[in-house]
Symmetry: C2
Subunit: 211 residues, 2 copies
């Protein structure tokens, strides 16, 4: 990386745009979030911003990737310790945090629907993200099953999909009624799985409760 000056500047500007967009959407909600609005937030015209991204959809796909990058920094990488306890912690933590940024939840869900078309610029993002997450969960489930602490009535792959589905599905419910506790529902799945709260090596506090 870090090539010529002009190129590096372009990359930096891109990052600046993405960070600004993330902030605007998180703060003011997705509400129409037009390219024009996002452009003005960084002091550019609509056409000026689109100089850095091929289209509106490309822009939003990049925003989602950026968000994952930021979240990973904030919540740590789940792959580090692929135990179900760790995944439970991570999942519930992220979900709880999402309740603070409605605009991003809306953006994510909306794009998830639109990106169903394989031609959509964000399609690869969702497929890859989903597969990576699922692989992590599957690994943790298999480990736990070997230890004998988890039912094998359902295969790990399906179980992982169920966990992902609950997280995504609760977002839809929450968009309708921000009063519902997404985190509690996600946590409940782990309770059903018999993943008991354990004081891990690091001594986690209870993540659920409240509300």
């Amino acid at each position: 990386m870090a090539r010529r000056g002009a190129y590096a500047k372009g990359v930096a500007k891109r990052e600046e745009i993405l960070e600004s967009a993330l902030e605007v959407i998180a703060r003011e909600g997705y509400r129409g979030a037009s390219v024009k609005e996002l452009a003005e937030a960084v002091g550019l015209s609509q056409a000026g911003l689109l100089h850095y991204f091929d289209s509106k959809d490309e822009l939003f796909a990049a925003i989602l990737r950026k968000r994952d990058e930021v979240d990973a920094r904030r919540f740590g990488d789940l792959d580090a310790d692929p135990s179900l306890d760790r995944i439970r912690e991570g999942f519930v933590g992220i979900v709880r945090h999402n309740a603070e940024v409605p605009g991003l939840v809306q953006l994510f869900s909306r794009q998830a629907v639109e990106a169903g078309d394989p031609e959509h610029p964000a399609h690869a993002y969702f497929v890859e993200r989903s597969a990576a997450l699922r692989a992590t969960i599957v690994a943790a489930i298999e480990r736990r099953q070997e230890e004998g602490g988890l039912t094998d009535a359902v295969d790990p792959e399906t179980l992982a999909r169920v966990i992902q589905a609950v997280a995504d599905g609760m977002q839809l419910q929450w968009l309708q009624d921000p009063g519902v506790d997404m985190a509690a529902a996600v946590d409940a799945v782990f309770v059903l799985l018999g993943v008991e709260k354990q004081v891990g090596p690091a001594g986690f506090e209870p993540t659920t409760s409240t509300v």
Copy 2:
């Protein structure tokens, strides 16, 4: 109902429009489904169609209600026998059927996101539908819990939300990859709950099948 001729005709036209729209979307996918396209499918101009609905969003909300009506006729009303077994049957059946009508799944999911705004014409639809479905599931869960056949580690309300979330969340996964088995994942939740497949008193056949 059935007032004056002219009025009745308007109602009939509405129904005709909705049935046509449902068919077009189920068959050709949601893909942009503009008011214009739907209008032409019933031999109307765009403005002609919007004479029967206040706006595009009102139209789509009506389409979703119509769809529920059709599904209820086809799969029976879940409230009739509010047992978990029955709910399992009904849920899995509908989900399996949904895999045949991608356009409707896309329409539903998309509207679910957009209707987060309380001002959105479909907001009430989603809130009411969700609450009604949840009430049915909660009743069945409570009944089963009293019979002692179900964990009470998670409260019924949350459990019901989890079941709904899995169904909705699996749709999002399926939109990305139509190869995934939505029905299997939904069914898995009931397996986790220990709801064994039983031949109910009435001896239900799999409502699913045929597809």
